[in-house]
Every structure is written in structure tokens, then in C-alpha cells.
């Protein structure tokens, strides 16, 4: 008898997908997500994130490769594999004419939950997601944020071990987004493995412990969030000053740009320290009143990884060894 706890939550080997029109969405990706992880799968639009999720959930047929969920191969043990997965898709895909409670209970029925159990679970998750008062409403009348939460409640009704969320907070206001983060952290704390795709990189940085970046059907980065952020070679800070600053501001060794009389931005690379910067500012009698990152750290890393030269460029043209090394570090 297999023990699901001894397996990875998700194991993908050499996954390929070529659509009927010839477009190769996945070019042999491999991925391993540990049980209990909160994992981010990031990439630009059209990179292959949703295709990967579609294959895992049996909504997209793969061309080649192997996928296992808690040790259950999705080809040979698809029933067991499906029982482990809950999925929140990118687009609303519930019946727009059904009532909220019916949608969640019906999904429980598809997983073989007796109606009494499905009703108990539906109440539990609709209450946790602040939707219980809307249980009698027809789903199409819900706001965008409520629809997103309804899909999360629906995905959790059979209490899956692996929850996959494809851009769950798209179009959701910041207050609601933060409450959804708290909810997902609680779900993860109960032992549920979560895989998240998002375009809000602050979301991924705040929630996820491990990360993979996919671009053009290839995994170009797969590491822990901490390790990835350590690779960040420079950060840009925006500083507000108490005193007015002029074009005579001197910060030798730092690249900076005046924004206005009381604000400037400065680049700090991995060989420089903020202490050095503050010493230079203090010498000139400038008091800093506030300081912030210009962009989210993961966002900067994400852009730098995506902008790294890819294999095709290396194959198509001669490149010097330093370029090749940089590419090697990114893969």
C-alpha cells in the first residue's frame, strides 16, 4: 500500500504539449513540488502556466511526459490523482444560472460526497470566505471578487491535498486580495499544498516559499524564493528628503536620479551597502524621511530572468563565454 505522504505533491517529468495548430506550448518541462509547499508558478502571458495546470487537472491532453500527484500517475491512476486535486481556474467556469450553494454542493457530488457531507463542507467554506449570506443568490449576480471566492470554496469542498490556483486574485481589490492571502495561508497551514500562478509578484513573494518561472514553454528558474531573491544584483530605492536637494547632490559610486526637490531614486548593487549611501547623504547634511523599493524585488528579478538571453539566441549566433555563463546561471 502506497503512503501518499512519502511522495511529492506534484512531480512532472518531460512534459510536452503541442496544440493541433502546431503551437508548442510546453517543451519538456520538469517540476517537483514538495508536499505542504506554497509554490509559485510564474511567467508572462502565454508562457505555458495555464497549459501546465490544464494537463495536471485533465483539462488539456499532453503530448508527452509524465505527471504524478502524490504518487498517483494521472494516466494510470487518474481517479486517485483527481481526488487529490482542487483547482481554481483563471476564468469563471461555474454555471451562471445556478445558486451559490448549489454550485458548491454539486461539485461535492462529483467527488462522491454524500449530500449531507457536501452541505456541511459547503457551509464551512462559504462561511470562511464570507459567502454564506449569498448562498441563495444566482451566481451571475455576484461581484467579481465574490465569484473568485466562490471558485475557491468550490475547489475546497472535497478537501484536496493539492490546491491549484490560476490567478485567483485577478481583478480583486487590494483589501479583498489581502484577506484571500490570509485565507490561503491558513489553508496551507493545515497541510494543503498550494500552487499559485499570479501576475501580482508581491503576492507570490509574500506567500510562496518556492518558485518556478516558465517562459515560452520552458522552466527557466526553479528554486526557493529566498535563493532567487539573493540573485538580485541591484535594487532601486526611492528616498524622500527633509531638506531640498539640488543638482549638486553627490553620491560617488551610486547611480541616482532626482525626481523632484525632495525626492530622488538610487540604484544599490550587490557590492554596495545602504550604510555607504546614508554616510554620503549625512556628509551633505541631507535627512531622509522615508525610503521604499521602487519596484517589488521579485518583480525586478522576474524581469531580469526573463530578459536573460535564451537558448535559441545562443544557438542562432555566436556568443562570448560570459553571455553563456550568465544564461547558465539563470537556467
Amino acid at each position: 500500500m502506497t503512503n501518499e505522504h512519502s511522495f511529492a505533491a506534484l512531480e512532472i517529468n518531460g512534459l510536452e504539449k503541442t496544440y493541433n495548430n502546431g503551437f508548442q506550448a510546453l517543451k519538456g518541462i520538469s517540476l517537483n513540488v514538495k508536499a505542504g509547499d506554497f509554490f509559485a508558478l510564474l511567467g508572462p502571458n502565454g508562457a505555458g502556466k495555464s497549459t501546465t495546470i490544464g494537463v495536471i487537472c485533465s483539462l488539456v491532453s499532453k503530448t508527452a511526459g509524465q505527471v504524478s500527484v502524490f504518487g498517483h500517475n494521472i494516466d494510470t491512476h487518474f481517479t486517485e490523482a483527481k481526488q487529490c486535486i482542487g483547482v481554481v481556474p483563471q476564468e469563471f467556469n461555474f454555471n451562471q444560472f445556478e445558486k451559490v450553494l448549489d454550485i458548491v454542493i454539486t461539485q461535492g457530488g462529483y467527488y462522491g460526497l454524500p449530500r449531507r457531507v457536501a452541505l456541511e463542507r459547503a457551509e464551512k467554506y462559504l462561511r470562511l470566505l464570507d459567502l454564506w449570506d449569498m448562498r441563495g443568490m444566482v451566481s451571475r449576480t455576484l461581484s467579481g471578487g465574490m465569484k473568485r471566492r466562490l471558485m475557491i470554496a468550490r475547489a475546497l469542498v472535497h478537501e484536496p491535498k493539492l490546491l491549484i490556483l490560476d490567478e485567483p486574485t485577478a481583478g480583486v481589490d487590494i483589501e479583498l486580495r489581502r484577506s484571500m492571502w490570509e485565507f490561503l495561508e491558513k489553508v496551507n497551514a493545515t497541510g494543503t499544498t498550494i500552487i499559485l500562478t499570479t501576475h501580482y509578484l508581491e503576492e507570490a513573494e509574500s506567500l510562496c516559499r518556492n518558485i518556478a518561472i516558465i517562459d515560452a514553454g520552458t522552466i527557466i528558474e526553479n528554486t526557493s524564493m529566498k535563493a532567487l531573491l539573493r540573485k538580485l544584483t541591484r535594487e532601486v530605492f526611492v528616498l524622500d528628503t527633509k531638506e531640498g536637494i539640488s543638482t549638486e547632490l553627490k553620491l560617488p559610486g551610486f547611480v541616482f536620479r532626482l525626481m523632484d526637490e525632495h525626492c530622488f531614486e538610487v540604484e544599490v548593487d550587490q557590492h554596495q551597502t545602504l550604510n555607504q549611501l546614508f554616510e554620503l547623504l549625512a556628509e551633505q547634511g541631507i535627512t531622509i524621511t522615508s525610503m521604499r523599493n521602487k519596484a517589488n524585488r521579485l518583480e525586478e528579478m522576474f524581469v531580469s530572468v526573463l530578459n536573460a538571453p535564451d537558448d535559441s539566441e545562443a544557438n542562432d549566433s555566436e556568443v562570448d563565454s560570459s553571455t553563456t555563463q550568465a544564461k547558465g546561471a539563470a537556467v
Binding site: Y19, C57, V87, N95, F97, T106, G109, Y111, G112
Partner: protein, 257 residues
């Protein structure tokens, strides 16, 4: 998921299908009742009284079994084709595809849902028919089995149509250009004995002829085709329809990317 789980999933689909057609009863139950009542009034009472006997019965008695069967056929087919295509169109078919529901469970759930609507409308139409004529059932077993088999065949046909359909046009083309002519040429309004030999033989490839005449045998005890022949043909259509629908659903290339 074990057999009990599949049974729960099956009941869930059937319950959802019944809830759907009851929720929109003004669209699903009332129009066929009105349409068939008009047939009773026009073809049965007004025109029928001038036609005289048909197949040894007065025209109203002759036409009622066919009209009941027509309501069952159209509604069993229409329920499955519109519901399953709607599920594809709204993409909530993904709710079932991501779950461990077997294809045969999905198929049976939709088919039983379609049969339920067909039988519900058939029941309503039968009650309406009692306002126009007396119905004395000749053979209950034949009557009931013909109704069930017919609803089953056309629920399966509706399911196959819905799998292939990619637009709302695709779910109206078959009912308009195939199903309606088959119904009207299936011996509902006339006995095939009235047709020239060639056209009478052509009618024998129309499955609706066997359903209407089998049902008419159950009610009146008279039929244009042999009752055994009718059962054989219906069981053949069930076998072909069921295996085709299950094969198409299992391959599911039109449902999955």
C-alpha cells in the same frame, strides 16, 4: 472513486438536470404542452373529423399516440442537447472533467435527465389528450417500454449532437433539418399503408416509424410494423447510440484542449 461515489455523482448530475428544466419550466414544460394541444385541436378535432378512419380507428384515436411520442422525442433530445452544449459553452463541464467522475457516469446522468424531461412532457401531453379522446391502453408493458426506449434513444442522440456542436447553430440544425422531417414522415399523422410501395419501404429506415407504431400498438393494439421488429430496431438504436456517445465522450477531443 468507488461505485458508491460514482452513484452519488450520477445522482448529482440527474438532480442538477431536473433542477435545470424545472427552473425554466416556462421554456421547457409549457411550450410543448401548448403545441401538442394545438395539434389535438387542429388535426384531431377540426381536420380529423373530416378525414374519417385511419388504420381502422377514428383519426383522433389514431393520431394521439404519435403526438405523445413526438413530444417525448423532441423534449428528450432538446433537453440533453441544450443542457450539455450549455455546459460546454459556459465551460462548467470542467467541473466534471477535473473530478473523478467516469465518462459513463456523466453520460448516464445526462441521458436520465433528458429521459425525465421527455417523460414529464409526455405525461402532461397524455393528460391533455384525455380532454379530446378516450385512451384505452391495449398493452401496458409495450406502452411503457416503448416510451422509455424512445426517450433513451433520443437522449443519446441529443448527447451526440451536443458533443459535436461548437455553436448554437449546431444545436438547432439537426432538430430542424433532420429530426423534424423524420418525425413528420414517421407515421404520426398517417399510416404508411397509404404510401406508394417505394416510399413505404423508404419509411422503414426511419427509426421514428418503429417508435410511433410500437407505442400505437401498446395503446390501440394496431401497428404498421411488427412489434418484435420495432423492439429489435429500438434496441439496435440504443446500442449504437450508447456506444457512440460513450466513445465520443471518452475520446473527448472536443471537450479537452
Amino acid at each position: 472513486m468507488n461505485m458508491l461515489g460514482q452513484w452519488i455523482a450520477f445522482k448529482t448530475i440527474v438532480y442538477r438536470e431536473i433542477r435545470r428544466f424545472l427552473r425554466i419550466w416556462v421554456q421547457t414544460l409549457v411550450p410543448p404542452a401548448i403545441t401538442i394541444a394545438l395539434y389535438f385541436v387542429i388535426f384531431g378535432s377540426l381536420i380529423g373529423s373530416r378525414i374519417g378512419d385511419m388504420g381502422g380507428f377514428d383519426y383522433m384515436q389514431f393520431v394521439v399516440p404519435g403526438l405523445i411520442m413526438m413530444a417525448i422525442i423532441q423534449n428528450a433530445y432538446g433537453n440533453v442537447v441544450s443542457s450539455f452544449f450549455g455546459t460546454k459553452f459556459q465551460r462548467n463541464i470542467e467541473e466534471m472533467l477535473v473530478a473523478p467522475v467516469k465518462e459513463i457516469t456523466i453520460l448516464l446522468g445526462y441521458v436520465v435527465g433528458g429521459m425525465t424531461r421527455g417523460l414529464a412532457v409526455g405525461g402532461i401531453v397524455t393528460v391533455l389528450a384525455l380532454f379530446f379522446t378516450d385512451l384505452n391502453v391495449h398493452n401496458w408493458w409495450v406502452t411503457i417500454s416503448m416510451v422509455f426506449l424512445t426517450a433513451l434513444v433520443f437522449s443519446l442522440a441529443g448527447f451526440i449532437n451536443a458533443i459535436f456542436a461548437e455553436s448554437f447553430d449546431d444545436i438547432s440544425i439537426i432538430p430542424t433539418f433532420v429530426l423534424t422531417p423524420m418525425i413528420y414522415l414517421g407515421g404520426i399523422f398517417y399510416s404508411v399503408d397509404l404510401l406508394p410501395e417505394f416510399w413505404a419501404n423508404v419509411s422503414l429506415v426511419n427509426p421514428i416509424l418503429y417508435m410511433v407504431n410500437g407505442f400505437r400498438f401498446g395503446i390501440l393494439g394496431a401497428s404498421d410494423v411488427g412489434i418484435l421488429q420495432a423492439y429489435v430496431m429500438l434496441l439496435l438504436f440504443v446500442a449504437i447510440g450508447f456506444s457512440s456517445a460513450l466513445y465520443l465522450l471518452t475520446r473527448a477531443e472536443r471537450l479537452r484542449s
